[in-house]
Symmetry: C2
């Protein structure tokens, strides 16, 4: 337990330091990609090849470049598929409408733009499409519309669509090359790290709550400490959307580092969900600790030991789990051992609470004392259940790892 | 209280029914905008005017069209400002580099693209810019790059930039017209409604918890009811990001309906934050209700009345506040009256809990009984504090309204 506690702040600090440099590296990568793709204009031979279509390549780079490799790849594939499909449907529509004769041509085009536009826009509300293919559908609508109407103005549709596709491909290649091979930022790594950080945040909050509750009366807690307690669980509580987005990006990423293809990213989301429930428990524990009515100190002292024991067991279990996820190590018997020690601690606290205090006759005081203690216990119980659930998840996860 | 309770499910159902039609209407609006902007190609006079630059108008419509009017307007203004700034800087760079002579020209361009691209990409990480102007910076990079390199290929830069800007403007006008004048969907309305729904969700969850806890042993709760309890507070808990996005869009919206310019949308975010804290309380209350250890029925019965009284007072206060926000009515003395009745109820429960039960000698049992009751009280207390905070917020809000 001790070793873990000393190790973690260091990890945390390291992560925060590291985060500071990544925006600068990202900006330089974008700038390199822009210069590379501008060569299509600036270098004579290349310009002779592609001409003004080079514009599409520049546009592709600016629009596709996202912070993580997975997001860039996902957007790029969306753009590619959207361009191909939109181009094909646009060509078909253009060719069919040309057969309708000069007059009817525009009317046929207008009607097909209306219906295909409406249907494609509607599909963007379907949850599965909205989640992964929203951008692709947008590009489909754009390419379809451009190709269909360009044909009406006598341009050679097939050549136009082909040129557009090839320059989009060039832009995409530049994006992928710079994004994957110069200091890549993997969404999967971020998700992995953010999960480990969640364990750390909850641990910090829980330790803070215990320390706050059992501090002696003349100790004052610094505002900074209080803030770090609540920041811990609040950041975990509000992480749902960010996690979902990151898991989505991670699912686009190819094999990298210790993560294989088809890595079970949704397991990460499940663990996060469990941690959010645990964070909610810590939140209510903290609100009890902060409440105005507090039992006198001698009462608190009397059940300090079982409470801190249970608390430390939970903290230790969480650290252990976080560490094992961090290192992606299988924790062979970890789950059952931790589970058992937690259960023993919880039982100890429960016994201590049911035995009446020797020197208290007043029921009101006993109740006062019970109040806090029982809440600790309820929270502990909840924490226990959750820790076990997390252990089960972690176990599943690491089993799939092997 | 009764009238409100009957009214709310109806409101809720109405909102849900209404939501179903909006995607279809939105799709039709997008299709209309696409057809209108395609006329730039299909109508001969218009095409003679703008030529192939009509492409930019189509692109603008596809890319800008968002579900809410505020989001469309915000993106459109971002695109406009980004295009103007990017075009100006691009023109300057292009003209300056042309003075450098034929050989150095490309090098100067490459260097300026690198530095301006890197700096602009970096600004996208600054929180305030990321929040409201991210899209504008992207368009700035795009336009700057396109205009700067086009000049190198001998095209007339000033004309190019002007044409691009005017066609972007046309696309923007079509977007705004269809988005604002055909069944507009206002982000502000959505935010307002989602706040009212939050009050309803918490009320439903809280009522469900009380009913669940004080139900007789042979009553079984349907799985559906259980799910509706937890859905209530969970949807509130996870609403942070969606709310922030909606408030951002709403801040772009001009005067509409009952909302004026500079409507204090951030007050909505503050109220939501308070409601999220309250939802966390309901969550821990629910986990107590669901816990395996339960006190026997006769004990629960003995403090059913003060508990349900307090619960109903909180529910009533929440409904009242939700209703007053819904109708944007000032609740003159509401805050103080509700606050007082809540305080009285809380006091009643507290007294009931401190008096020992007449027919219980066993301290263990008393403790069991206390456990639940005290938790109710703690939650009630927390709820009280939050309700008062909400009342204070609502009061401020409605005062600004006047």
């Amino acid at each position: 337990g001790e070793i873990l506690k000393r190790k973690q702040p260091a990890t945390l600090r390291l992560l925060q330091q590291r985060r500071d440099h990544r925006p600068i590296i990202h900006s330089i990568k974008v700038a390199i990609a822009l210069v590379l793709v501008s060569l299509l204009y600036l270098q004579k031979d290349l310009y002779d090849e592609v001409g003004d279509n080079a514009m599409w390549a520049i546009m592709t780079v600016v629009v596709l470049y996202e912070f993580t490799a997975g997001a860039t790849l996902g957007k790029g594939l969306n753009r590619g598929i959207g361009t191909i499909l939109g181009g094909s449907v646009g060509m078909l529509t253009g060719l069919l409408s040309q057969r309708a004769g000069r007059r009817a041509n525009a009317v046929v085009l207008g009607i097909s733009i209306f219906f295909i536009g409406a249907i494609a826009s509607y599909t963007r509300f379907i949850p599965t499409i909205k989640k992964k293919y929203d951008y692709g559908v947008m590009i489909f609508i754009l390419t379809f519309n451009l190709i269909a109407v360009s044909g009406y103005r006598g341009e050679e549709i097939v050549k136009l669509a082909g040129d557009r596709l090839s320059t989009v491909g060039m832009g995409f290649a530049v994006c992928v090359a710079t994004s994957f091979f110069i200091c890549p930022v993997w969404a999967g790594d971020n998700l992995h790290r953010s999960l480990v950080t969640k364990f750390e945040n909850i641990t910090v909050s829980l330790e803070g709550c215990l320390a706050e509750y059992f501090k002696t009366n003349n100790q004052k807690t610094a505002v900074k400490t209080k803030r770090s307690i609540s920041n811990g669980y609040i950041s975990v509580l509000h992480s749902k959307d960010a996690d979902a987005a990151m898991a989505n990006f991670a699912s686009w990423e190819p094999w990298h580092g210790r993560f294989g293809f088809y890595y079970p990213w949704d397991k990460y989301l499940q663990i996060s969900e469990t941690l959010r429930q645990l964070a909610a428990c810590v939140l209510s524990l903290h609100s009890c600790v902060q409440s105005v009515q507090q039992s006198p100190e001698w009462i608190r002292r009397s059940f300090e030991k079982p409470c801190t024991n249970l608390g430390e067991a939970i903290v230790c279990a969480l650290s252990e789990l976080g560490e094992s996820i961090h290192k992606m190590r299988r924790c062979h018997s970890l789950a059952s051992v931790i589970g058992k020690s937690l259960q023993a601690m919880a039982e100890e606290l429960r016994t201590a609470l049911i035995e009446p205090l020797p020197h208290s006759q007043d029921i009101g005081l006993v109740v006062e004392r019970r109040k806090k203690g029982e809440e600790e216990e309820v929270m502990g119980g909840a924490g226990l259940g959750d820790a076990l659930a997390v252990a089960a998840f972690a176990y599943m996860l690491l089993e799939m790892e092997e």
